[in-house]
């Protein structure tokens, strides 16, 4: 042996006898057993205390690893002797397991068990340990002794030993004191979806996921426990591999190892300032030690629009247009101009019609997605690389979506105590098509769905886009639906590149230093085309009525440096006391800018493709390269986790955040939190329950988290240069921002209180948790409207909101046999939002703006209420003939009886059949001011949740995921637009207003009937009012119950027998077919109850206006690994 070992060992004084030492070593690191003899023969061992032994053991081990690994390597190459090992793998019930992986540790040698759980393996001489694993069971390691090794695998009572991310570290689920939910990769890959958010929909208690519409890039709203801010963005903080990111939409679900949601402040406080709305931590897949595995997952899917709404037939449409012209003008001129004379109306009985919904949204969508990942490594280094590609042709014409992801992770241990990690992620997304609406709209009149719904069903001579409006702006005209979507074309390309490296060093035993550096770059190019039918091209540009484009490029880069020290007080404390402390410092710098170029005046025949590429054919109007102020955050944080005997647990966190968004005095926010947990099941008095109760833990936490989610630069009123198209001779001006500065701004703070109970019963067969919480958010950062002051809005700290709720999660293994099994898991969340205070205000209104300014304020934000309260009139059916004294032929008016409420200020001209509203003020007249409106709906659900059933039978697996929402209202704005005229003519309607259903005033001879008796009898069977109103009216008729239960996915898979696969050297092959959005039980009459399209502010949730319709989808795919 090399002399240095001798030298080292000569200095060693051992306390116990050599055999004891060797026993310890053996227990700790079984693979050192091979050096036993060597030690026995060469070294002297002296007496010392036990404590010293431990220290020495570590030192010794360290040295030994260095030297003997080298030695062994040399040795094994000299004597590369191979032996064969075989055996059977069984489960706890004694049944054999097919398809278990058996691997020689530290090598790439491995196999999979056959039909009777048998395996046979050639073990190289350096192979000392077998690693045996199977999905759903605990992985175990067995020393290779002898040639026959039978293994029994135990069920994985994973709830307890599962490791979850907790922010700057991980913890075992059993040691968690806060409120944490998580989803693992197996749940995510079994049913592939294109985005993470879809994957977690309905799976996590306390996390509400709303897919706002059906487009492939639809905004997915994730809310953790309701969200505390009023006008602020309530989106949670997303952390991907330690890095804060803006969105998780570009991460393929296949790449995710683990997704964890931190819900209470004791968990989120470690993220301090940004944790107030919850934290979602995503860990992507890393390399694993062992044989290189290749996974390939692919699927194709077809999709079709979920639901269409029927519209009036051609003759009915023509008839209504005639009646409308007569009602509006008393003469049919505006009808005859386009439709011919009334006597020829029967021509429309057989006129061919266009099914515009089908033309625009009717195509069969097709998606192809595949994912390749390679993963492997040895003790020293591990790697994972994956590539994902999705190509999605959506159901809407001109709309498609593509994404490519490359993920690479590498980790290396140059020495036992040092770990180096490096990862890069790239994501490139391309989205084509303008969708049915957009949040950054120029005018709601450019929303596209209405064209597909209520554009004239047959071609009409002379009818141009400008026809049919009596208003001044030309807003609200309809255009050919196909022209309208191509005139609103849009092309978005996003690229995210992320790079991170870290080094961790265990300086002394149990003292770990870790330093991480990361860089994230985001580039987004958003090209928007405005054809000549758009409001923008008609009215907002210097050269009107010619195509225009707005090309914007955003870039954002984030630099992050985090340094942490972690110390485990193992050595200092007695056996049952455990304490772990972490201190850290973090600096995040975010720089961003936006470049916006507007070019107008393209030749009128130009479409998007030409206009994007031949920009010199247009006239540049403005170029604005705007640099935002940097957003900097410097933080110091610390956490201590203490437990006694895993029975009493305490966790204390403090974070101090300094943000560049606030003034010197208000920069720093301090966010402390504490949590205690009591494992009741470990108490002596619970011993009697141990036969059926595995674990019972009570958790209580209290803590604060902050929020600084406002734009940078609110401290001083700075002058900005803006382009102008309004002033002769000037193209730009210097003015203050329209948002008034507020130097007094400070952190918004959320205090959360959480009580939770975790339980595991019946050997892990039944587990779950119950939680209740109360979150109070104070000093809300509100972008407060201050119209009339000289500014539009001002950010303020004002008011207080609270969210209180209850969540329950349960997992139940109903049956678990070798060849069949059934699992159920479900969760339910109740959340109640309440505005405790609005500071100086009591209430204020907010307009969702779907009908430009016609509807006005339709949401009401009031103390004592909640965000999402809809505000409008109360419907009172329609005026009947009996409401009138009669018709006055001279004034050509119907005279209301005394005491009958007059709705004409809102509805316009009143006659029998007109829409009727309730008079709330008692003055017998319904007016446009606030007197006759009230809260008529609430977008907040009473509870939401989901449940999953998983079954397996031999090679087959079946899984059904349901999710639901109960008790929320939807503001069906589409319905209002499709059933009332407002100021427009020539618009079609949905069949709610079909002839026979709607009130009719029309005699067969084409005159308007004003005879009370006849009119009443003509309408004896009609139920709806007459669609003729002077403007759109929001009443409780348009507020609908949005409760639903959806079978989100139903998946049937088949895993091929391993026997067959072994021959092909394939580890695993699963084929599956999945249906998405299989059914949705709901009373909602619109397209889909899961909708929210007016999202420019968070104050107007739950509006269904011009949403991209959702689709139903069927997928066929495979999961392959070898």
């Amino acid at each position: 042996m090399p002399s240095k070992h001798t030298k080292f060992c000569n200095k060693v004084n051992f306390s116990t006898d050599k055999y004891q030492l060797l026993h310890i070593i053996e227990k700790q690191k079984p693979y050192f057993c091979c050096i036993k003899n060597h030690l026995q023969t060469n070294y002297l061992i002296h007496e010392k205390t036990m404590k010293e032994t431990k220290q020495l053991k570590d030192q010794l081990l360290k040295r030994l690893v260095f030297s003997f690994l080298t030695a062994l390597f040399a040795f094994s190459t000299l004597a590369a002797q191979v032996k064969t090992v075989s055996g059977v793998v069984k489960d706890a019930n004694g049944e054999t397991i097919l398809g278990a992986t058996v691997l020689v540790k530290g090598t790439a040698v491995g196999t999979v068990t056959g039909a009777v759980g048998d395996y046979k393996l050639s073990v190289p001489a350096n192979g000392k340990i077998l690693v045996v694993s199977y999905i759903g069971m605990k992985t175990i390691e067995v020393p290779i002794t002898g040639t026959q090794i039978n293994v029994t695998l135990e069920d994985n009572t994973k709830m307890l030993d599962e490791v979850v991310a907790i922010g700057y570290g991980t913890a075992k689920r059993k040691d968690i004191t806060g409120s944490v939910s998580s989803v693992k990769s197996d749940a995510l890959t079994a049913i592939p979806v294109s985005s993470v958010a879809e994957a977690i929909s309905g799976k996590l208690a306390g996390v509400q996921v709303t897919t706002t519409e059906g487009s492939p890039d639809a905004d997915i709203k994730i809310r953790v426990r309701g969200g505390g801010s009023i006008t602020g963005d309530n989106k949670p903080l997303y952390i991907v591999d330690g890095f804060p990111v803006e969105s998780i939409g570009d991460i393929p679900s296949n790449d995710i190892e683990d997704l964890t949601v931190l819900k209470d402040a004791s968990s989120t406080a470690i993220y301090g300032s940004r944790g107030a709305n919850g934290v979602i931590i995503i860990t992507t897949k890393s390399g694993k030690e062992g044989k290189i595995t290749v996974n390939y997952n692919a699927f194709v899917s077809w999709k079709k629009i979920e639901k269409t709404l029927s519209v009036l037939t051609a003759p009915d449409y023509a008839k209504w247009q005639y009646e409308l012209a007569m009602l509006k003008y008393g003469v049919p001129d505006s009808y005859e101009q386009y439709y011919g004379t009334y006597s020829d109306i029967d021509l429309y009985n057989n006129v061919p019609t266009n099914d515009w919904q089908n033309e625009v949204f009717g195509r069969i969508g097709f998606t192809f997605n595949h994912n390749l990942s390679i993963n492997g490594g040895n003790e020293k280094s591990k790697f994972a690389i994956s590539y994902n590609h999705i190509d999605d042709k959506a159901i809407m014409q001109l709309s498609n979506f593509k994404r490519d992801n490359i993920n690479f992770k590498f980790s290396n241990n140059p020495s036992k105590r040092i770990t180096l990690d490096f990862s890069t992620r790239y994501s490139g997304t391309e989205i084509n098509g303008g969708g049915a609406n957009e949040q950054n709209e120029v005018s709601s009149s450019d929303s596209r769905l209405k064209n597909a719904m209520i554009y004239t069903p047959f071609p009409i001579r002379n009818l141009t886009g400008g026809s049919g409006t009596t208003d001044d702006t030309g807003v609200g005209n309809l255009y050919n639906p196909l022209v309208s979507i191509s005139d609103n074309d849009r092309q978005q390309k996003r690229a995210t590149f992320n790079m991170a490296g870290s080094a961790a060093w265990e300086v002394y035993p149990n003292l770990r230093l870790k330093s991480e550096v990361g860089y994230d770059n985001y580039q987004n190019s958003d090209y928007r085309f405005y054809g000549i039918t758009t409001y923008y091209a008609q009215a907002k540009v210097p050269i009107p009525n010619q195509p225009a484009v707005v090309l914007s490029n955003d870039s954002r880069s984030t630099f992050r440096n985090t340094n942490t020290i972690n110390y485990d007080f193992k050595k200092v404390l007695h056996n049952n006391h455990h304490l772990n402390m972490m201190l850290g410092e973090e600096y995040i710098l975010l720089q961003s800018k936006e470049m916006t170029t507007s070019i107008d005046g393209f030749p009128t025949f130009f479409k998007s493709n030409e206009a994007f590429k031949l920009t010199t054919q247009g006239t540049p109007v403005s170029v604005d390269n705007f640099y935002n102020p940097d957003d900097k955050l410097l933080s110091f944080f610390g956490r201590g986790n203490y437990d006694y005997d895993s029975r009493y647990l305490l966790s204390v966190t403090l974070r101090a955040d300094g943000s560049s968004k606030f003034s010197e005095e208000n920069k720093w926010g301090y966010f402390p939190s504490a949590a205690v947990a009591w494992r009741i099941s470990s108490e002596k008095f619970m011993e009697s329950t141990s036969t059926w109760l595995d674990d019972l833990k009570l958790r209580v936490s209290y803590g604060t988290a902050g929020n600084n989610n406002i734009p940078s630069g609110q401290m001083t009123q700075s002058y900005q240069s803006s382009t102008s198209t309004w002033i002769d001779g000037f193209t730009s001006y210097w003015g203050p921002s329209k948002t008034m500065a507020n130097p007094d701004l400070k952190w918004e703070t959320t205090v959360t209180r959480n009580i939770g109970l975790d339980f595991t019963l019946l050997k892990g067969k039944l587990s779950g948790s119950l939680e209740t919480y109360l979150n109070t958010t104070t000093d809300l950062l509100i972008n407060f409207p201050v119209p009339g002051s000289g500014y539009d809005t001002q950010y303020r700290n004002m008011g207080e909101t609270e969210n209180r709720g209850f969540e329950a999660t349960v997992n139940w293994v109903v049956i678990d046999k070798k060849n069949y099994g059934l699992n159920f898991s479900g969760n339910i969340s109740f959340n109640k939002n309440r505005i405790n205070s609005l500071g100086i205000m009591n209430d204020y209104g907010q307009a969702s703006g779907w009908a430009s300014s016609e509807v006005g304020v339709d949401y009401w934000i009031a103390k004592g209420g909640s965000v999402g309260q809809m505000y409008g009139y109360v419907s009172n059916g329609r005026y009947e003939v009996s409401d009138f004294t009669g018709y006055d032929a001279t004034t050509k008016k119907w005279i209301l009886k005394d005491g009958v409420v007059d709705c004409s200020p809102v509805i316009g001209t009143i006659r029998p059949g007109s829409m009727k509203l309730k008079d709330l003020s008692g003055d017998n007249i319904v007016t446009e001011d606030n007197k006759d409106r009230k809260i008529i709906g609430d977008a907040n659900p009473v509870h939401t949740g989901g449940f999953t059933l998983n079954g397996r039978l031999y090679g087959f697996d079946l899984s059904a995921n349901f999710d639901w929402s109960y008790g929320n209202n939807i503001y069906n704005a589409n319905k209002i637009e499709y059933t009332s005229t407002s100021k427009y003519e020539y618009r079609n309607m949905i069949s709610t207003m079909a002839d026979g259903a709607r009130w009719t005033n029309l005699n067969a001879d084409g005159t308007i009937n004003n005879d009370p008796v006849q009119l009443a009898s003509m309408n004896a069977t009609t139920t709806m009012w007459s669609p003729y109103t002077k403007k759109f009216v929001f009443s409780d008729w348009a507020v609908e119950d949005g409760s639903f239960l959806r079978l989100n996915t139903l998946s049937l898979g088949y895993t091929l027998p391993h026997k067959t696969l072994n021959a092909l050297k394939i580890q695993n092959l699963r084929l599956y077919v999945t249906g998405y959005n299989v059914f949705c039980l709901t009373k909602y009459t619109g397209f889909d109850p899961e909708v929210s399209t007016r999202r420019q502010t968070t104050l107007t949730p739950g509006v269904d206006y011009s949403a991209y319709p959702k689709s139903r989808q069927i997928t066929v795919g495979l999961n392959l690994s070898f």
Binding site: S515, N563, Y719, W734, P736, G788, G790, S853
Partner: protein, 596 residues
């Protein structure tokens, strides 16, 4: 290896330590500039003043709301579909507006835009006074004068539409964000003082490079505006306690009329402006001719490229379809009362420029309806551009013209001195109206100069004839305390006209018309006193004639239409209410008076 890592740790911590010491948490704005630099640099300060124009221009500001809806109905002007009384616009113009008017009750509405403009002006004024060397730098002086003047323009219009309003003469701070309404007298006094300061800062028309254009404020306009504001401040108006004059000793006729006189005479004596023909002023306006030194004193500079503003769109002769003159088929939203045509002397050249009985359809003039005449001062067909925007026409809004200076002078001098001293100024305007008949003018001047009262009445009449369609009438009637009187008078006249009673009894039944040889102009017979149906029929025009007053046995000018001139007593509704959205967002500091 260990050493390297240890070193990196040390370096890392050091960097972190360093960064935490320096300005690690300061993040200045980047795409912005400092106030001190902007207001000491003329080219930048000028763009800051342009921000005030921006506030005036934007969609729902003056461009789309104040100019199109303020100022009528009066005894000479009305909204052409004012009979639809429950609609929003007739309610606005018919003295019965709702606080939640769909046109007005939006957060970006003209009220907000006016205060935005005021805030921008306040920032400019503070900035220029603090950082701009206005004593030595004439460019910066001009800009300060412009900011003061534009602020006065906006305040004057605010008071015209809403009576008492919040006074803000300093940039807003967090503590002054909510303020109650001020007595308008406070604001008037400040404006009169501000304009006195501004007069000395800005140049006469053509006195500097920027004042060569009527799109920039010049000394003649500042003086004229000061005179206009003095007249308003000294006059009657509806106050929370009723219609009355100011009780402020500073705002008496005796104190303010001398200022009016002086300012007007200053302008006249400066000889920096000149009256052309009546029609020429409006042709210049339509043709984007902004050369200073003529009749126009100041215009809101709506952009021509792109086309911005709704002047012809709202007030012009209507084109019911697009034609070679315009791709924007608009105009005729509002027009003169039909009987106004007969208030003009037949020889008054202003009549046929102002009152237009036809519209354009498919490029040809066709007879309009008796109840909806159009103003002829604004015409697409006079423009040099063909308007292509669907919403805007790009024509400026003329805020003041030279004729107003003469008439204000005449009014003030009559009050301070006597008709004889005042007469020459009225006569200038009268002469221009009758370029070929000076004798008629002399005779008229003699009649009206009989007394202070007759002369005052002549001014009241003259301003109607001169400024019809320029939206000055309502404010004039209010300050003279004649709003209700004159509107009731107009109703009587309209009724007589509809029924062809009294002075209208000699008008024929029908109008007889044909298209002239040029293929587009209309030739009409039957409008003038003395025309007869017999003579009309004898003309043998292709059409047998149009029932002008009556068709199908009913009056075209209906009782409803006449009654819709005002829906409530105008003197109880001289002002619009402050819209609900602004009340809601005022933290309880604002309320509506005047019976709302």
């Amino acid at each position: 290896m260990k050493k390297i890592i240890l070193k990196s740790f040390i370096i890392m911590s050091f960097v972190a330590f360093l960064s935490s010491c320096s300005d690690v948490l300061t993040a200045p704005t980047q795409s912005s500039m400092d106030e001190s630099f902007i207001f000491s640099t003329p080219v930048l300060a000028e763009q800051a003043v342009m921000a005030i124009h921006q506030s005036i221009g934007e969609t729902n500001s003056y461009r789309g709301r104040y100019i199109p809806y303020y100022g009528y109905n009066t005894d000479i002007e009305w909204y052409n579909t004012s009979e639809k009384t429950t609609d929003d616009k007739p309610s606005l113009t018919g003295y019965n507006p709702s606080v939640s008017s769909t046109n007005m009750n939006t957060a970006d509405n003209v009220w907000a835009k006016m205060y935005e403009g005021i805030e921008r002006a306040n920032l400019c004024i503070r900035g220029l006074r603090t950082y701009g060397d206005v004593k030595n730098n004439t460019q910066l002086a001009q800009l300060l004068g412009e900011a003061l003047t534009l602020r006065a323009v906006i305040y004057n219009d605010l008071i015209k539409a809403w009576g008492d309003v919040p006074a803000r003469f300093e940039p807003i701070t967090t503590t002054t964000i909510y303020v109650a309404k001020s007595d308008r007298d406070v604001i008037y006094k400040q404006l009169i003082a501000d304009l006195a300061e501004a007069e000395d800062l800005v140049a006469w028309p053509n006195g500097s490079a920027v004042t060569k254009s009527t799109e920039r404020v010049n000394k003649a306009f500042v003086k004229g505006l000061r005179a206009r504001i003095c007249l308003a401040a000294a006059g009657y108006s509806q106050r929370p306690d009723g219609v009355r004059q100011s009780t402020d000793p500073e705002l008496t006729v005796a104190k303010l009329y001398p200022i009016v006189k002086q300012e007007c005479l200053d302008v006249i004596n400066s000889n920096t402006c000149k009256l052309g023909t009546f029609e020429q002023n409006f042709r210049n306006l339509c043709q984007d001719n902004v050369t200073a030194g003529f009749e126009s004193l100041y215009e809101f500079p709506f952009s021509n490229q792109p086309e911005r503003g709704r002047v012809v769109y709202t007030f012009g002769i209507r084109h019911t379809s697009t034609d070679k003159y315009t791709q924007l088929a608009k105009g005729g939203e509002t027009g003169p009362l039909p009987n106004l045509f007969y208030d003009y002397d037949k020889e008054d050249v202003r009549r046929d420029v102002t009152c237009i009985p036809y519209v354009w359809t498919n490029g040809v003039q066709v007879l309009n309806k008796i109840q909806s005449w159009d103003f002829g001062k604004y015409r697409f067909e006079w423009m040099k551009r063909v308007v292509t925007s669907p919403n805007d026409d790009g024509v400026n809004w003329q805020v003041m013209r030279y004729a107003d200076i003469y008439l204000m002078a005449a009014e003030a001098i009559n009050e301070l001195e006597d008709p004889t001293a005042a007469a020459p100024y009225l006569k200038v305007i009268r002469n221009r109206a009758f370029p070929t008949n000076p004798t008629k003018v002399d005779a008229y001047m003699e009649t009206v100069s009989a007394s202070k009262e007759t002369f005052f009445n002549a001014i009241v009449d003259e301003r109607a004839l001169e400024f019809c369609g320029e939206m000055l009438r309502k404010a004039d009637l209010i300050r003279w305390n004649l709003l209700s009187v004159k509107l009731n008078e107009a109703k009587t006249k309209l009724t007589a006209f509809a029924n062809r009673n009294g002075s209208y009894s000699d008008l024929p039944d029908k109008l007889y018309f044909k298209t002239a040889a040029d293929g587009e102009s209309i030739v009409i017979y039957g409008l003038e006193h003395g025309d007869t149906d017999a003579a009309g029929v004898a003309l043998n025009y292709p059409d047998p004639g149009k029932g002008w007053f009556i068709s199908n046995g009913t009056n075209n000018l209906t009782v409803d239409k006449i009654n819709s001139l005002f829906q409530t007593d105008p003197d109880t509704r001289q002002y619009w209410p402050i819209w609900q959205v602004f009340l809601d967002s005022s933290n309880g500091t604002l309320k509506n008076d005047y019976g709302y």
